[in-house]
């Protein structure tokens, strides 16, 4: 091995006093790291998209053909296709959580834990990365569904869709991060995914309005965050007909009030889950 004394000696004198690392800078670094890791495993980008895309492209039209004929067909296809975002977001967020488990078991998590950064910024870095990837996937999904014949109304109200999707990603990622601590084994974690990402999908007004459910299940559906997210998705992207989903939850007549109430429910869930995620992550980082 060759060594060059003068080279390393020059590093000695530059030892600096520690200075706090700006949170925004560490957040950017951690987000880029997570995105770089995800890009190197393309399957993690594609796999969560497969089931929702299949729903939007094949199952939604098939259901529409079976249940509705004539003018109602497109409306129903759009109804189901839009629901697939409610399948994609939980799946993607929960799969993102797997990355945290890999970080702990085989990755650089301990290096991050001894870095001079706030430990909460590790959670937020992963969250921003999950948000970025999910946004890309949702856009692809909506575009595919539109190409297949779903009929969306894009106007200012689409902002409700965007806001609801963002908050729903935040709350689902918070839940995923909590799960990575509570279920640190990948096998246990994967086992919980269907219960959290798929089961609620069938009771949240994705394939049929929640009013079609038995009364007790209708009440359960109203406390599911996915029900509120889907209602806001529809309100944002399907024009006046989208108000029905909100009305099925709140029974009011003012659409904006109902949208605000559903958004408040989502924000409340998001605050609870993200706060919980930061707490359990920070606690798990120190024994």
């Amino acid at each position: 091995m060759t060594t060059t004394p003068t080279a390393l000696a020059s590093t000695v004198d530059t030892r600096r006093a520690p200075r706090p690392i700006r949170p925004v800078r560490s957040l950017g670094t951690l987000t880029k790291r997570r995105l770089a890791l995800t890009v190197r495993s393309p399957q993690s980008l594609v796999l969560p998209l497969v089931a929702p895309a299949l729903f939007a492209l094949a199952i939604a039209p098939a259901l529409a053909n079976t249940i509705h004929a004539g003018p109602g067909r497109t409306a129903y296809m759009t109804f189901v296709a839009l629901s697939t975002a409610g399948l994609l977001i939980p799946l993607n967020c929960l799969f993102s959580g797997l990355g945290v488990i890999v970080d702990r078991q085989q990755g650089a998590m301990r290096e991050l834990l001894v870095a001079p950064i706030r430990r909460s910024s590790i959670v937020f870095g992963n969250l921003v990365a999950a948000l970025t990837l999910t946004a890309f996937q949702v856009v692809v999904l909506i575009a595919l569904a539109a190409a297949r014949g779903s009929n969306y109304t894009v106007g200012l109200r689409a902002l409700w869709f965007v806001a609801a999707a963002v908050v729903f990603v935040i709350l689902m990622y918070g839940l995923a991060e909590i799960l990575t601590v509570r279920l640190p084994s990948p096998v246990e974690y994967i086992g919980a995914v269907p219960a959290l990402a798929i089961v609620p999908f069938f009771f949240a007004g994705s394939l049929f309005p929640i009013t079609a459910l038995p009364n007790w299940l209708d009440a359960v559906a109203k406390i599911l965050p996915l029900t509120h997210a889907l209602a806001l998705f529809r309100y944002g992207l399907t024009g006046p007909s989208g108000v029905t989903a909100l009305h099925n939850i709140w029974g009011l007549h003012n659409a904006t009030t109902m949208a605000i109430l559903s958004m408040a429910v989502l924000v409340l869930y998001a605050l609870v889950f993200v706060n919980g995620a930061i707490r359990v992550f920070t606690k798990a980082g120190t024994s």
């Binding site: 060594t3 060059t4 080279a7 520690p18 706090p20 290096e111």
Partner: protein
């Protein structure tokens, strides 16, 4: 002018895990700036827990830890900013290149880009990893990965470097190679090192002082030379059929009981000026069947075994 703070100061550090598991029982030590300090001990002695309390990943049950005069509990970010850790096992992003892993450290430790990249280039050249810097870490050998982790730890120019059994699982050649790298980098950077290891030769080679830790307590803390001096100039090692009788005979020969160590059928005793021939004569005279006998100078192994009463294994703590 006030004296500089110790680089590391542990004051009655204690860690008790749930279930009344006493991992560390009130240990205290100081490491001066630029000193290399070794923590030696058997599996479960509390070495890794001690490092964890110093690098903020383990919360002490009681006691205080200071790095560069900063209280670890009160200023965790400040103490993390002046320290780095090389962990027992791989703590890297395997799919990313070595360069990306190193750049991540630079950014997280807030080293400005030009200075950091310059240092990265210099250190990579100096440890001979420039050729594989841009390959994914997943393709590195164990030794290459360890070099990368050592370079990473030094990138932020830390005041304190924690090396937690850095050569576990590596073959002898790679171990020696890495210690050569560490000794070179230490000489040039003046970094304070806290090393935990099972390998006494590593501690002897790198460390100015060694603390032997057993069952969560420090049982000795000396320079390697002083530790070796604990057993005098010469030890006798005999293999016998009946160790009990041998011990009685050695006591009768005037050898201090504390200096007699039995592992299996091997009895080791510090001669402390006694003649080996005389001691062997007394053993045989007591009816002990001596199958083999060797006299040699004491090693750190002997000191370690005397102080901890156990074997050192290469298994992870």
């Amino acid at each position: 002018m006030t004296a500089p703070s110790p680089a590391i100061e542990a004051i009655e550090l204690t860690k008790t895990y749930p279930g009344d598991v006493h991992a560390v029982r009130g240990i205290s030590f100081q490491v001066e700036p630029g000193e290399a300090f070794g923590l030696l001990g058997p599996n479960g002695a509390g070495k890794t827990t001690t490092i964890g309390m110093l690098n903020t990943t383990v919360t002490p049950t009681s006691g205080r830890a200071l790095l560069g005069g900063r209280d670890v509990a009160k200023d965790p970010m400040g103490t993390r900013a002046i320290s780095s850790v090389v962990f027992q096992d791989a703590v890297v992003d395997q799919p990313l290149s070595g360069r990306r892993n190193l750049e991540l450290h630079l950014r997280l430790w807030g080293v400005n880009t030009a200075e950091g990249r310059n240092r990265l280039h210099q250190l990579a050249e100096d440890v001979g990893m420039a050729d594989y810097l841009d390959r994914p870490v997943a393709t590195y050998s164990g030794g290459q990965r360890r070099r990368m982790e050592i370079v990473r730890a030094l990138l932020s120019n830390p005041q304190v470097l924690f090396l937690d059994e850095p050569t576990v699982g590596l073959d002898t050649r790679v171990r020696h190679d890495l210690f050569d790298v560490l000794a070179t980098l230490r000489d040039r950077t003046g970094v304070t090192i806290l090393l935990t290891t099972h390998y006494l030769d590593e501690a002897e080679r790198l460390c100015d002082r060694i603390a032997i830790i057993d069952a969560g307590r420090i049982v000795a803390c000396e320079t390697p030379a002083n530790l070796l001096g604990l057993l005098g100039d010469e030890v006798l090692e005999v293999r016998v059929d009946d160790t009990s009788t041998a011990i009685q005979a050695l006591r009768a020969a005037g050898l201090p009981e504390d200096d007699i160590l039995v592992i299996g059928s091997t009895v080791t005793a510090s001669l402390r000026g006694s003649s080996s021939e005389t001691v062997l004569h007394q053993l045989r005279g007591a009816g002990v069947n001596v199958r083999s006998a060797t006299t040699r100078i004491p090693t750190l192994d002997d000191v370690y075994l005397r102080l901890t009463g156990g074997h050192i294994t290469a298994a992870e703590e």
